[in-house]
Symmetry: C2
Subunit: 416 residues, 2 copies
Amino acid sequence: MTTRNHCQALDAQDPLAPLRTQFALPEGVIYLDGNSLGARPVAALARAQAVIAEEWGNGLIRSWNSAGWAELSQRLGNRLAPLIGARDGEVVITDTTSINLFKVLSAALTVQRNRAPNRKVIVSEASNFPTDLYIAEGLAELLQQGYSLRLVNSPDELPQAIDQDVAVVMLTHVNYKTGYMYDMQGLTSLTHECGALAIWDLAHSAGAVPIDLHQAGADYAIGCTYKYLNGGPGSQAFVWVNPALVDVVRQPLSGWFGHTRQFAMESHYAPSQGIARYLCGTQPITSLAMVECGLDIFAQTDMASLRAKSLALTDLFIGLVQARCAAHELTLITPREHARRGSHVSFEHPEGYAVIQALIARGVIGDYREPRIMRFGFTPLYTSFTEVWDAVEILGEILDRKTWDQPQFKVRNSVT
Amino acid sequence: MTTRNHCQALDAQDPLAPLRTQFALPEGVIYLDGNSLGARPVAALARAQAVIAEEWGNGLIRSWNSAGWAELSQRLGNRLAPLIGARDGEVVITDTTSINLFKVLSAALTVQRNRAPNRKVIVSEASNFPTDLYIAEGLAELLQQGYSLRLVNSPDELPQAIDQDVAVVMLTHVNYKTGYMYDMQGLTSLTHECGALAIWDLAHSAGAVPIDLHQAGADYAIGCTYKYLNGGPGSQAFVWVNPALVDVVRQPLSGWFGHTRQFAMESHYAPSQGIARYLCGTQPITSLAMVECGLDIFAQTDMASLRAKSLALTDLFIGLVQARCAAHELTLITPREHARRGSHVSFEHPEGYAVIQALIARGVIGDYREPRIMRFGFTPLYTSFTEVWDAVEILGEILDRKTWDQPQFKVRNSVT
């Protein structure tokens, strides 16, 4: 049996433990929702103050040059690139994940329209993060060219779903509900063998698991900086395009930041070479600047170390829950197999919503996703083994005592 | 002859003068570029600190509910609405102006595709802000349905250009180069008489001139909050749709924030009723929150008072430049007629770029736009009459002494 002492010993020997001091976490909270909104780097406050007081307040319009605002999306993209196996000049941080998906999906369909115009199917999975499906629907409806979505109900159905009609396979690397992680390289190969293009949404994997987009042979990738990357609430998303494809077509959200001569103010668009053509309009700078504070912390470690701790944390959590809460109706829906697991763990419970609310009331912050899913994110930069032990103990108490069966825990909020 | 004393007297009797203390402007600077990036409200720093330290740092994921992040785009939209003649629930602040233009132009073309499918022309002007034209080009190229842009070279050509082939007329209310202001109501009527829909870009007019979208009968409007509205560098843009049109079609950037049951996590999109369907992905919250600080200052005055002072400032500037700098090659390209003038004034000068750099070196911040245009923005919330006098005096000295003819003033930056 694992004890709390054992967890404390794991923390004492954890080489990543000192990084926690670089995050400003509130007292009395065990934060297991870094997969939804990452914790605040201590440095983010001073960085934002500098942007607001100095760069905006004193620099004013001059800061587009003097403070490097004009190049910020590219410069931060270069800092993020190593975390996903991308190279210098291949990533920009801009807009939202939804918007960036629209850009890359439009581009991919345009590439296919030129190469294989009869391919009209976009493959994804029914349990993909909804906004990804909505964006694909919106694009298909706009185009009126016969595009349709083909949604599989489980990863096993993919090999059969990817056939000669498929233009694009669009998947989220780590599923937001279950934490299931796809074999990116295998699926990309399968996609290519069939003549389709592969788009990977890395929202739940960037900063959480090692990713090598080049080795996987991916075509397009997008993702989010406000989860594991700790960029701040709603901080801008990233977009990567394989260099072999990036200059082949224009993406349709072609704003002035993507123009090759932005300040020539020409009346016709001429796309920049490379990933800069995936820029569009002026970015909210204060939010964008804080993304760097999260990346600064990643620069002090490496994804292999983070992954090792992440798997140790999720193994510990699964094991403790199954031991401590064996008497309760919890169903693990996250793969036990390391190669198929991201950095969050989900259990189903018939009263999952109320249990999560009761946990939050006790200071253990996880979140809830329809239907019945309790989701717990493990962020090796700041989650300790002892916190895992304590969280499970509190969960056990709530289940044993049926604390969740109080009316205040059943009131639905808009976001959990 | 107007004297500096006279300008000081105007400031002494200016009812808006006290509002300047609510902006943090640097010493030694005369800021005439609020049409490009508005000055910083003093309150923005504390607001951002609260978002970062309290809402993000301590509230963490709970702040989507407890700090009102989930509704922020709508709540701030309601606060902006009165400045543009819109009503409660008709405006959201989200994404960028370019992205919002893509949304409304797509929607407008979809409406026309259902009503009048043979209308394939988008009318705009060649000197429209480039990103607007690029977005229209990008959409037309994506659709592959025969859409084309018809660009007029001057406002006079519009009546002839708007014919039975036109689906949409897409204009910027105040031209970013010349400061020319369209007759929104007249042009919208002309557009409607011809069966087309009218999109207005209010980037250079929101917060600068009175606007009444309902009275004008406009169909769609977009605009920017980081110029006259002082929302912060790159702060999010706004979008308004006429209530008669808003529920008629889905816009294609249909992300989860536009879904009518966002957290039901359904796999098919069901658009919200009203302007919420123009939301897409998660917004950079720190930047968005600061928009409120600019709007708080507008709430202390009204657009009629601001317009009166704006015209007085621009009249004064034009008059003083033409008197003080009569010996130099300056050509006014901004209309003298009040009804056709926004809140910035532009002069052409053969060495406009270098003159602007020499002015900036003396603390007078205007900006430059190709070709040869020196642009000066007048922001009645914080620009004084005495500053106008001083700026013209410094311009006169630079021109008299040919200060601009020094090599350091001719080095091109990426942004000016």
